[in-house]
């Protein structure tokens, strides 16, 4: 017993003295007894906590003014606590009286990642059924995507969409006024017209599940061969860090694809404050420092036509967990990517452990990291890209390439090291194809493999190069990545060939985008 108290220099002394166990009252209403401590020592009662939570969501959207009335917004639901709480906030916002109602049109997307998280088909089915039950209760249009479908994505997903080119973007205020006027007009026109949008909305809800999903259970999951292909892709990634990045990339692309094909112009992601803080440090460690603002900011417009917003980024994971528990928000937990026992964990998890460990002893750690990240702005990067020339973008993450200046710095040595590392591996592979026919017996003969790897590198940003090195052979990559890479390489080649015939004006630009 005494041992437990003695050997902890780690937690004991640094930790705040636990408050006395007498019941504390809520700091806000000063009446009800408190049930949750948030921020640094503020104790809230249930009712005040709820009010605070709901208000924060509306305040976030109100402050940023990027979601226009009537706009179609796709909520990316993972089944986890943050995105489930986000869904509840949107439902709350839509059920308010007219003056305070959220005015956008929500839809939901769920990406089924069960295959790579080690779930059996039965478990995946069960998870899907639970997600569907949650989704159906909302009545919002629902789009289901399996991670396996990444193999069917078009190469265009890796290109920036035209940013609302056809219609001039009105100011937020004008848009709201227009919308309200339109609504009044409809009300004046009588019932038939007024209920039209609602009827349309209903149509959409019925449309989606019937059109896409056969009702029969068992037929919902992608073909086993596809799953196998996906598993190979993840299997080939050497480190858990690369696997995590890969998963994140495929997920983002699937969500983006859903948004584009279904006509959504905004995507809401449920990153919490805790998650944003972890992501900030993780991405810094991954060499994504140049893109921190885009990767973690409130709005991310790298895809051009579809913007990602993160309205949950001021909620601590703790607040979300308490909210979900108190107000019955159901979640569906999918196990995270599993490393093999022996493997080291990923940078993502190390950072999470590190930050949460600090947070336990210094309760403002996470918010400090978050606030620091908050000061980063995407504006400079975007401003420099604005005048005429569209910058070259990374094939995988679509951020403007940051590798031009870095050629002589950290990058070059890593590339050389990479080449050296590849050679012996190539020899080993050679050994396996003793069947004779000059390497064609193996699915990947070493030399072309090395070539295609090298062909990818100029298309990638610094961080994606590092990740790419830890991923498997480029042949395991989904076709859309390969085809887009080929397209870009060809273009670059062609451009080089005709370079001397070009006038030095930036005339070639429109064709680029």
């Amino acid at each position: 017993m005494c041992q437990a108290r003695e050997d902890y220099g780690r937690r004991g002394p640094g930790r705040r003295a636990p408050p006395p166990s007498c019941p504390r009252t809520c700091v806000k209403c000063k009446e009800a007894s408190a049930v949750v401590v948030i921020r640094v020592g503020d104790a809230f009662c249930r009712a005040c906590f709820r009010e605070y939570f709901v208000h924060k969501f509306r305040a976030m959207l109100g402050k940023n003014r990027v979601i226009f009335p009537g706009e179609k917004v796709l909520l990316a639901l993972s089944g986890g606590p943050a995105s489930s709480a986000m869904l509840r906030q949107v439902q709350e916002g839509l059920s308010r009286e007219t003056a305070k109602r959220l005015r956008f049109v929500p839809g939901l997307v769920y990406v089924d990642e069960g295959a790579v998280c080690g779930q059996s088909p039965a478990q995946r089915e069960e998870n899907l059924a639970r997600v569907e039950a949650i989704v159906q209760a909302t009545g919002f249009p629902f789009h289901l995507a399996h991670l396996e479908q990444a193999f069917d994505l078009p190469g265009s997903i890796l290109r920036r969409g035209p940013r609302g080119g056809d219609k001039p973007c009105p100011s937020y205020k004008e848009a709201v006024e227009d919308f309200i006027q339109q609504q009044r007009q409809e009300a004046a026109d009588g019932d038939g017209a007024a209920s039209l949008p609602r009827r349309l909305a209903q149509l959409r809800t019925q449309d989606v599940p019937a059109g896409e999903e056969p009702a029969a259970p068992g037929a919902r999951l992608p073909a086993a061969a596809r799953t196998e292909e996906l598993l190979q892709l993840f299997e080939a990634a050497e480190t858990l860090t690369a696997k995590e990045e890969l998963l994140q990339m495929l997920r983002t692309h699937l969500i983006l694809h859903t948004a584009r094909t279904q006509g959504y112009t905004k995507v809401m992601m449920g990153d919490s404050c805790t998650r944003v803080a972890v992501k900030l440090l993780t991405n810094l460690a991954l060499g994504r420092g140049a893109f921190l603002a885009m990767d973690t900011g409130f709005m991310d417009s790298r895809h051009g036509d579809v913007a990602v917003v993160r309205p949950m980024r001021e909620y601590m994971a703790k607040e979300i967990a308490f909210y979900n528990h108190f107000f019955g928000v159901s979640t569906v937990i999918t196990p995270a990517l599993r490393a093999k026992r022996r493997e080291k964990t990923s940078i993502h998890r190390l950072m999470e452990d590190f930050l949460l460990g600090l947070q336990a002893e210094f309760p403002s750690t996470i918010s400090t990291v978050y606030r620091t990240g908050e000061k980063l702005s995407t504006a400079p990067a975007e401003a420099s890209s604005e005048p005429g020339a569209e910058p070259q973008r990374c094939l995988l993450c679509l951020c403007a390439l940051d590798t031009l200046a870095e050629e002589d710095l950290a990058l070059e040595p890593t590339l050389i090291a990479e080449e050296a590392a590849q050679r012996p591996q190539g020899l080993a592979e050679d050994g396996c194809c003793h069947a004779g026919t000059q390497g064609s017996c193996c699915q990947s003969s070493p030399t072309p493999g090395a070539e295609s790897r090298a062909a990818f590198l100029p298309l990638l940003c610094y961080s994606c190069r590092l990740t790419f090195k830890e991923m498997g052979h480029p042949d395991t990559l989904p076709p859309y990545v390969r085809s887009e890479a080929q397209r870009r390489s060809r273009r670059a080649e062609m451009k080089q060939q005709i370079q001397e015939f070009l006038l030095e004006d930036d005339d070639e630009d429109p064709s680029e985008s």
Binding site: S21, A34, I333, H348, R349, E352
Partner: protein, 101 residues
């Protein structure tokens, strides 16, 4: 001498995965000389309920940072954390907010 204490122990947010996926556990803590507090309960859980990888649930004599503890539906920070003295029929809930496992 403390009498045996009956508790409902629950796990959520993914923490249940370390306990065979079982969310609710009805437990009865045996008699022991000192009164049961959360510190002792955690030790008991580690020995009796935890199925795998204790380092994902415990750190030192407390829960791993990122795992929330609710005692009778209230934040344990309001109840004295590890020193809270368990009463018969208390409900203790552990919610994981952690991403990776």
């Amino acid at each position: 001498m403390a009498a045996p204490v009956s508790l409902q122990v629950e796990f959520g947010g993914g923490a249940e995965l370390l306990f065979d996926g079982v969310k609710k556990h009805q437990v009865t803590l045996p008699c022991q000389p000192e009164p049961w507090d959360i510190r002792n309960l955690l030790k008991w859980i580690k020995q009796n309920l935890l199925k795998e990888r204790p380092e994902l649930f415990m750190q030192g004599d407390s829960v791993r940072p990122g795992i929330l503890v609710l005692i009778n539906d209230a934040d344990w920070e309001l109840m004295g954390e590890l020193d809270y003295k368990l009463q018969d029929q208390d409900n203790v809930l552990f919610i994981s907010t952690l991403h990776g496992g």
